[in-house]
């Protein structure tokens, strides 16, 4: 086993954690050198460049290629690819042999852009990554900045953030129900899912002024307090949703066609999912009980009661069912938040970070200076590097932030869950039918804005 130099034993519980490497009786250690053998369908990943694909299209047979198969591109413009995902697939008749996700069509260099924006402007940039769950992008960037600043937030700011994120999880999963439903053939689901999501977005608009790309969660707190009467709006939403979810159950969950299309499709094993760094519903569908909200609590999640949903088969149906029931769990969480929302300030009172209230500017020179400084130069963030992760609707959304003491991030990197989860697709699709590939894409639910950044 590993030698940890005696000087540090800050690693807790060395035995309990490592289920893998267990020593024999004579002390010889069964050391895992590679996880590749955990991926029985490794060959399902097509590794072919554009040049090779073009040659293939010309009819030139590459060495070792099978004459019976055909390379077909699906996307980037295809209704079921959730944006601009392109899949290069090797088909043997109707069956997918190998496939390769080709991405980058939506690449706008957001990580580079972030280096030119101040920390306060940062969320305007990151919020556009995963456009189906913008609050999470803002949150992870703000949390990383706050960790570098060593900033403590007022209770209310934390709880408002939790509320908005959970509502966003609902709206994001509703969207996934809608588009996923249509991909499989439940076309009316498209309308229903979108309708419910719109109701949630209407609340977002009331609070933040925008339906998407809110720039509401900012370093130091949130942009504005919740409007008067927000409780009624939220409770109204939470009462509207459960019956609608029952309708989804009737329309989809119990439907034999729906089940036939999803059950046993796109199966991935637990070992594969972990080895491929999958997170979120993709990981949980295989039975791995891992949710950052519970296992590495952030925001107010350690004070909230909710269940983490796990599947057992790792197929497309499990992933669908997890999302549907996560909406129900989120509703449960939101009810608790409405009950327990603390009073107080909605943003930090650190004048170096938080712009002063408008009224203060008229009467205080200092407030005017702070206002001017924050919006022209930005606030300086102590040097250092930090990695912060939150559980977005798609999995672990991480932000690696490096500051050199200036008002702009020296480097900002986003670990997008969709980006990483995309790697599981070739494994899920292999040996399935082309029509099932659509079900697989829908069940992984990537958002290409975040994949390409």
């Amino acid at each position: 086993m590993t030698v940890t130099d005696g000087s540090t034993d800050s690693v807790p519980d060395e035995k309990g954690a490592s289920g893998k490497a267990t020593g024999d009786a004579d002390g010889a250690v069964d050391r895992v050198e590679s996880q590749l053998d955990l991926l029985p369908r490794q060959g399902a990943v097509l590794r072919m460049s554009e040049v090779a694909a073009a040659a293939d299209a010309e009819g030139e047979l590459l060495e070792g290629e099978n004459d019976q198969t055909m390379i077909v591109n699906m996307g980037p413009v295809h209704p079921s690819t959730h944006g601009v995902l392109r899949l290069m697939m090797e088909l043997d008749g109707e069956a997918v042999v190998r496939s390769k996700p080709i991405i980058g069509y939506l690449h706008t260099g957001m990580e580079k852009t972030a280096e030119g924006l101040t920390f306060l402007q940062g969320p305007t940039n990151t919020t556009r990554m995963d456009y189906a769950s913008p609050f999470f992008n803002e949150l992870v960037f703000s949390m990383a900045t706050e960790e570098l600043l060593g900033l403590e937030l007022p209770e209310r700011a934390v709880w408002i953030r939790t509320l908005m994120c959970e509502l966003n999880r609902i709206s994001s999963h509703l969207l996934s129900m809608a588009t996923g439903g249509m991909d499989i053939g439940a076309v009316s689901m498209m309308i229903y899912g979108w309708r419910e999501r719109e109701q949630v977005l209407r609340f977002f608009q009331k609070v933040t002024g925008l339906r998407m790309n809110h720039n509401y969660i900012r370093p130091g707190g949130v942009a504005a307090d919740l409007p008067d009467g927000w409780q009624e709006d939220v409770i109204g939403l939470m009462e509207m949703l459960p019956p609608r979810l029952e309708e989804y159950d009737i329309l989809m969950t119990g439907q034999p066609i729906w089940r036939d299309r999803l059950q046993g499709v796109g199966v991935i094993s637990q070992e594969e999912a972990v080895a491929l760094s999958a997170t979120g519903p993709v990981l949980r569908s295989t039975g791995v009980n891992w949710d950052l909200r519970r296992d590495m609590p952030y925001l107010a999640y350690d004070e909230l009661e909710f269940d983490v949903l796990v599947g057992s088969y790792g197929d497309a149906f499990d992933r669908y069912a997890i999302r549907l029931n996560e909406i129900r769990e989120s509703i449960r969480i939101v009810h608790q938040i409405v009950e327990r929302m603390p009073t107080g300030d909605y943003r930090s009172d650190d004048t170096k970070v938080t712009p002063p209230p408008r009224a203060r500017i008229d009467e205080s020179m200092e407030a005017l200076i702070h206002h001017f400084k924050i919006f022209t130069e930005g606030f300086k963030v102590p040097e250092g590097e930090v990695y912060v992760a939150v559980e977005s609707p798609r999995g672990e959304l991480g932000c690696y932030l490096v500051s050199d003491g200036g008002p702009k991030p020296y480097r900002m990197h986003i670990r997008g869950p969709s980006f990483v989860n995309l790697q599981t697709m070739p494994h899920m699709m292999s040996d399935g039918f082309l029509a099932d590939a659509v079900a697989v894409i829908a069940s992984v639910d990537p958002v290409l804005g975040e994949v390409d950044r």
């Binding site: 130099d5 807790p12 991926l39 491929l276 296992d295 250092g384 990695y387 690696y400």
Partner: protein
């Protein structure tokens, strides 16, 4: 905050022998431990981590430190280089995170790939290769992923300028004529 982060909370009495974890210098940043292996030990380190219960490598990224204004906060014995490859690990058993940072010189930007140990970093390594031009030895398909295959240059390097399109103003003259955006 990073200054005091170096002292590791140990029960050792001796005055600060260079703290190590997995045979690499270690720092504690926030609640996460950061190890600084040499790039030659990168692959070996990953195997060690995997066998010690660090189930998942969630992310690999890189930083180009060539324009870093502050002093680099590295433990003793780690020689700063232009690039730094950063890998984040998660352990389910410990419910903990850890980072590994390896220095990679700018004139020889290569490091071994962790693909065999943690196959999930396939895309991440391709991304770093694409945007930083760091080669991962042993990766099965090190090709561009976000930029087009024919792209020249590595956009996230600090010497890669942010593109600008010249703006034509009505009055003419000035910055627009020189092809510089205001």
């Amino acid at each position: 905050m990073s200054a005091e982060a170096t002292d590791v909370d140990t029960e050792t009495e001796e005055p600060a022998p260079p703290a190590t974890l997995y045979d690499a210098p270690v720092q504690t940043v926030g609640d996460q431990q950061v190890i600084h292996p040499h790039r030659d030990e990168w692959h070996e380190m990953a195997i060690t981590l995997l066998n010690d219960g660090w189930n998942m490598c969630v992310d690999i990224t890189a930083v180009d430190y060539s324009a870093y204004a502050a002093e680099r906060n590295l433990p003793d014995g780690v020689i700063p280089e232009r690039f730094e490859v950063v890998a984040s690990f998660v352990s389910y058993g410990r419910r903990a995170r850890m980072r590994a940072r390896a220095q990679v010189p700018g004139d020889d930007p290569r490091i071994s790939s962790l693909y065999a140990v943690y196959p999930g970093i396939d895309f991440s390594e391709r991304e770093v290769f694409d945007l930083f031009g760091i080669t991962f030895d042993g990766h099965p398909d090190l090709s561009r992923i976000l930029m087009p295959e024919t792209w020249i240059g590595h956009p996230l390097r600090k010497d890669y300028a942010v593109g600008a399109i010249p703006v034509q103003f009505k009055a003419g003259g000035g910055a627009a004529d020189e092809g510089v955006t205001p």
